[in-house]
């Protein structure tokens, strides 16, 4: 790593529907059906590529998890959106989320390798185990398997998928018999320009960090404070080193929500628009949901209750994201916040850091986290599309370039090439899978 002449920050854009804020659709003048329009996603991909961003990222869960009464949510299937974006871009990486609980490893390996092939080696699979209990019923399960079972399955699933990708790249045929899967044969799909897709891991639970350190090429994490960011960065890199990997081969990319204005006042005005239009109790309900308690258990004028600070009584069966929960609780404790203060600080952002400010202020935050060793880059979450991304590529990217922190043009067409991850070290546990 020290041999690299220049180290750049990695920037992906997380295309959350039409923007991460609940009311993005009320402000951005997009068609009401933009969230199911492949052409809309293609235009966002073209903006991202104009800004030489590393990748287009899609979060996902296979179900209608949130009531769409107040906002659109994940709809079109990610690998297909990404293939549509691939058709109008040449360099942009394509990262799709898919659940290891609600897919089959053979089918998923085949489909992602197909995407990687048609896109010229630009794909990555973001592994999630899916924490939303409502999804289980779509797949014949009476309830979501507990967290331990999901992560055991995820670990075996990832081993099988990577062994299948290697089998398509001249590796041995897979002969796998495990707790969850029996798979044999060679994946009959062509090699891509980067060999096979990269692996990304999202999820900040302890088991998630362990999986990331052992297997992932990049981690999409949720951090609210710089101190926690540095701690978790070091934890994942240490797991990688213990697993015999080069820690530089797992990139840490926290989410970063941006509301940008040409002046601070303009940015705050834009932010306020969103705050005042929230449906009654919406921020509190969201916060309660991510803490795993009922809204009426939170007193706005008191600190978080003991029961929340003590942690979930049974992490195995906690029905929300452990990673989000941890980062929110840590922020409240570190800064001794009441529930009301906490809501102000979160600014509707859930477990991810949110910045409201000028392009300089956004670039400063990115630089500070990068230089402090809290991040190798960010998964950007603009408040609204497309203007929230345009202002980033037009005004923040040039600042980062001036500071020597970001590329002027793409140096490699494949995602693996840009992230400088050799095929041989992308997965440590290959032999264990076959």
């Amino acid at each position: 790593m020290s041999a690299e002449p220049q180290r750049h920050v990695i920037l992906n854009v997380n295309v959350l529907d039409v923007g991460i804020t609940h009311d993005a659709w009320r402000h951005n003048n997009l068609d009401r059906l933009a969230f199911v329009d492949a052409g809309y996603f293609q235009r966002i991909g073209q903006i991202a590529e104009r800004g030489t961003l590393d990748a287009f990222f899609l979060a996902d869960g296979p179900g209608l998890r949130e009531d769409p009464r107040f906002k659109p949510s994940r709809s079109l299937e990610p690998t297909l959106i990404l293939a549509a974006v691939a058709a109008v871009t040449e360099n942009l990486g394509l990262i799709g989320t898919a659940s290891s609980t609600f897919n089959d490893p053979w089918e998923l390996a085949y489909r992602f390798q197909s995407l990687d092939y048609v896109s010229g080696g630009r794909a990555a699979w973001n592994v999630v185990t899916t924490y939303s209990p409502d999804v289980a019923g779509n797949f014949g399960l009476p309830e979501l398997p507990d967290r331990d079972a999901r992560y055991r399955r995820a670990s075996e699933f990832v081993d099988v998928v990577t062994a299948l990708w290697r089998s398509a790249n001249g590796g041995p045929p897979v002969e796998h018999r495990g707790e969850f899967f029996t798979v044999s044969g060679r994946l009959p799909v062509p090699v891509s320009a980067q060999g096979f897709p990269l692996l990304v891991q999202a999820g900040g639970s302890p088991a998630g960090r362990e999986l990331a350190g052992r297997e992932a090429n990049a981690v999409f994490s949720a951090e609210l404070s710089l101190r926690a960011g540095i701690d978790h960065y070091n934890q994942v890199k240490a797991v990688a080193a213990r697993a015999g990997r080069d820690p530089a081969h797992v990139k840490i990319l926290p989410g970063l929500i941006t509301t940008i204005g040409s002046t601070e006042q303009e940015a705050y005005r834009r932010h306020e628009e969103t705050q005042v239009s929230a449906p009654d109790g919406f921020p509190l309900t969201r916060l309660a949901g991510s803490l795993g308690v009922a809204p009426d258990e939170l007193d706005p004028d008191a600190p978080l209750p003991r029961k929340v600070l003590d942690g979930p009584p049974d992490p195995k069966h906690f029905k929300a994201s452990l990673g989000f929960r941890e980062s929110v609780v840590r922020l409240a404790q570190d800064e001794n916040l009441t529930v009301r203060d906490l809501l102000t600080q979160l600014a509707g952002g859930g477990g991810h850091r949110k910045i409201v400010g000028t392009p300089e202020q956004v670039a400063d935050t990115i630089e500070r986290w990068f230089r402090a060793g809290a991040a190798d880059g960010f998964n950007l979450m603009p408040d609204r599309f497309p203007d929230g991304l345009e202002v980033f590529t037009d005004h923040v990217v040039p600042l980062l370039r001036q500071r020597g922190l970001f590329r002027h043009e793409y140096e490699s067409r494949t995602l693996r090439g840009r992230l400088n991850i050799p095929i041989s070290s992308s997965v440590a546990a290959v032999s264990a899978a076959s």
Binding site: F70, P72, L76, T79, S114, Y117, V118, R153, P188
Partner: protein, 324 residues
């Protein structure tokens, strides 16, 4: 099954294997793709993507291709990924995607096909298959007989496709109401697959993309009963070209007669097969009950009502407990 009246020219279908799709979409051949795509629009009513998933090896069609056998062992690509790429490069040809609910769960198939129908302006169809002979054996989702599972998957997929009416999306910027979500329904499908729904994709342009089945394949008659269009090797109401390689496809596209020109807007694939526009029922258990729009006072807002029938123990045993 409904096919166009004899007066209309028979639909011209071009069936390509997954390995031909890999050749066609090889990034090295990107310069040629727009021209081939334009020819497809001109000469074919529909392309069948992944024909090797539905036409059994050794059939008359397969044997009729000069080089088909030589390409059977080649690497191929996923038909849904190929379909969205071709949807981008074509404007009017139908895209019939072969899918097998053996390792691909019906929820995921329904979602990808609906996504494709949105992206193609209503040009997509589903060709249902029973087994992918090139995949690892077995199903991770069900112990049911594979033919019965494929037929059941079609029923579940159609129910999912109707669960989220697109006119629920009102996107009223003034009031902040995005969707009249009380009209979205669960499907509570029980069979070889248990699927609660709803689908997260609202109605696609066709709502119900046509479902095709192969009469001579495994489970032909069982699948014919649930399909909208049955493809039969002796049927003169279809012109079926089976293509086993890119060079065969190039040859076919350069020699096949052009179709009568059609309007600039894409024709729904259902119409090409002579099917009436879909008109599905919209009733069912509310997925997001709203007290203001609750047809049943007794239903508590946050309580999902399950069908009241007792689970059949034989049915229950067919499910694979995929997370043990």
């Amino acid at each position: 099954m409904t096919l166009p009246t004899p007066k209309a020219p028979p639909p011209a279908l071009v069936a390509v294997t997954r390995s031909t799709l890999a050749e066609l979409l090889d990034p090295a051949g990107a310069a040629e793709l727009p021209r081939l795509a334009a020819r497809l629009d001109a000469v074919a009513d529909a392309l069948i993507l992944g024909a090797d998933l539905v036409f059994e090896a050794g059939t008359a069609l397969e044997a009729g291709t000069a080089t088909g056998a030589g390409h059977a062992g080649h690497a191929g690509i996923d038909p849904t990924i190929a379909a969205i790429t071709l949807a981008h490069h074509t404007r009017r040809v139908g895209l019939v995607v072969a899918a097998v609910p053996q390792r691909d769960h019906p929820y995921n198939i329904a979602r990808r096909l609906s996504s494709l129908d949105h992206a193609s302006g209503g040009r997509v169809g589903l060709f249902i298959g029973v087994e992918d002979h090139r995949a690892t054996a077995g199903s991770p989702w069900t112990y049911a007989d594979p033919v019965a599972a494929a037929a059941d998957a079609v029923t579940a997929i159609r129910a999912l496709w109707r669960s989220f009416p697109i006119d629920t999306i009102v996107a009223d910027r003034e009031s902040g109401l995005f969707a009249e979500s009380h009209r979205i329904v669960a499907i509570d499908h029980r069979g070889a697959f248990d699927v609660d729904g709803p689908l997260q994709v609202p109605w696609s342009p066709q709502i119900w993309p046509p479902v095709l089945a192969w009469s001579a394949g495994a489970g032909g008659s069982a699948l014919a009963r649930v399909a909208d269009v049955v493809v039969n090797p002796e049927d003169t109401r279809l012109v079926l070209h089976h293509v086993g390689s890119l060079s065969e496809l190039r040859r076919l596209l350069s020699t096949a007669p052009e179709l009568p020109s059609s309007p600039a807007a894409p024709v729904p694939l259902r119409a090409r097969f002579g099917l009436a526009p879909a008109d599905p029922p919209t009733g069912g258990r509310q997925a997001f009950p709203d007290p203001a729009h609750n047809p049943d006072e007794k239903q508590k807002p946050d309580e999902k009502q399950k069908p009241d029938e007792e689970p059949n123990p034989d049915e229950a045993q067919k499910k694979v407990s995929h997370v043990r």
